[in-house]
């Protein structure tokens, strides 16, 4: 039900319906709850609805932090 991994919007109609690529497969989704979403944006999808838009800058920073944590744990 809850896809914890983000998906990338691959089709977005005016009605709010569309598709997203979730780990390599296309899933149908409703984007009405994230009106600011645009084609190519990353979203969190839950029960067929996109509920949240990913912030690319924050995502990059978190990824960097994870990398540092990984490096620290190997020291």
């Amino acid at each position: 039900m809850c896809l914890a991994v983000p998906a990338k919007i691959t089709r977005l109609e005016d009605s709010g319906q569309g598709t997203a690529n979730y780990m390599g497969s296309e899933v149908k989704a409703n984007f009405s709850l994230v009106p600011k979403a645009r084609l190519g944006d990353w979203v969190i999808i839950h029960a067929g609805f996109a509920i949240s838009l990913l912030d690319k800058k924050e995502a990059r920073e978190t990824l960097q932090l994870f990398k540092e944590m990984g490096a620290a744990s190997r020291r």
């Binding site: 039900m1 409703n30 709850l33 994230v34 029960a47 509920i51 912030d55 978190t62 994870f66």
Partner: protein, 340 residues
């Protein structure tokens, strides 16, 4: 306490408990909507599909396997012309109602704030299209009142919370602030990667040591502090809070949602003369899922765990749902070995 079942999955899958020092313990909380939906509501769904003819009961896959004293949806014999359809979105149920106007379609979906906006959207759309053959059997739960109930009951000594990332993506950080303010406990909203959870644990410990409890936002890549206002407005338009009965937690003030007057026609409960939710109903004898949901015992503390109660023959929802603590402990807990 990690509130969310998806966090529990991540913690176990990545063996995070074994990485933490002995004085830091993670306890699984009530964050499994399938589990906290009381027996009476699951039984109402079974009654509905076995007694009403020509009806489709659309529900999430996990819901069909929840055992009750009346069996499960999976073992139920549908009335003539009735069927159970597994969906992954409430919109699929709406689609079925459009396709077959002569058939009653009931969506039975358990969910927290993450799922509720989707259901609100679907009901509102059905209203706009005048689809009189669509309704919802509601099992809609709010997380913050449950945390309040756990803290007020004082049964377990919680020293901080890892708040659910996707519930928070909808409601934001504010609804948890009473935990820091009234109970002086730290907390952090977390994502679902192992790194996210460790960051949240770190933040909770840091707040505890410094004596500055707050609601830390450790998932800012996927949520805003204010949540999702579009989704929240929709929820508020369609539903209103009421004092709902949770499995194991009893009746919690303003912890469940029901349809507002304007949308009352979409509530399957009065429409089909089902018992009013509010009653918790009875669990299968010996099942301690309710105690597991309150964090009072670990799944291993249930006598039936891994013996009579197994994933193939579950005796409670906590062994059914992929977010259920018993299933997660069974799947990952026993294979975990301390590193050499």
């Amino acid at each position: 306490m990690e509130v969310c079942g998806t966090h529990t999955v991540s913690i176990f899958r990545h063996g995070l408990r074994s990485l933490l020092p002995g004085n830091v313990r993670l306890i699984s909380g009530p964050g499994c909507p399938v589990c906290i939906t009381p027996a009476a509501t699951h039984e109402a769904a079974i009654t509905l599909v076995s007694e009403k003819e020509g009806l489709t009961l659309a529900t999430f896959g996990d819901m069909t396997r929840v055992p009750t004293l009346k069996g499960s949806l999976q073992t139920a014999v549908p009335a003539p012309g009735s069927r159970i359809k597994i969906v992954y979105s409430p919109e699929e149920a709406l689609e079925e109602a459009r396709r077959e106007p002569s058939r009653q379609v009931v969506f039975f979906g358990a969910g927290f704030e993450t799922t509720i906006p989707a259901i609100a959207f679907t009901a509102k759309r059905a209203a706009a299209e005048g689809l009189g053959n669509f309704s919802v059997l509601p099992a809609l739960w709010l997380v913050p009142p449950a945390l309040r109930a756990i803290l007020e009951a004082g049964e377990i000594a919680v020293s901080g919370f890892i708040y659910p990332g996707h519930v928070s993506a909808i409601i934001g950080a504010e609804p948890y602030e009473f935990v820091a303010r009234d109970h002086g406990l730290p907390g952090a909203i977390a994502g679902f990667e192992p790194g996210d959870i460790l960051l949240a644990v770190h933040s909770v410990l840091e707040q505890a040591v410094a004596g500055t409890p707050r609601v830390a936002l450790e998932y800012s890549r996927a949520m805003r502090a204010g949540g999702n206002p579009v989704a929240r407005a929709l929820m508020e338009e369609v539903f209103e809070p009421f004092d709902a009965a949770w499995r194991g937690l009893g009746i919690i003030p303003a912890s469940g949602l029901r349809f507002r007057e304007r949308f009352a026609g979409f509530d399957a409960t009065p429409k089909f003369g089902l018992a009013r939710p509010g009653a918790a109903g009875r669990d299968l004898p010996g099942c301690r899922c309710g105690d597991v949901l309150r964090g009072v015992i670990r799944p291993e503390g249930c006598r039936l765990f891994g013996k009579k109660c197994l994933p193939d023959s579950p005796l409670g929802p906590c062994m059914v749902s992929y977010e259920g603590a018993c299933l997660i402990h069974f799947k990952y807990g026993r294979t975990r070995r301390p590193s050499p």
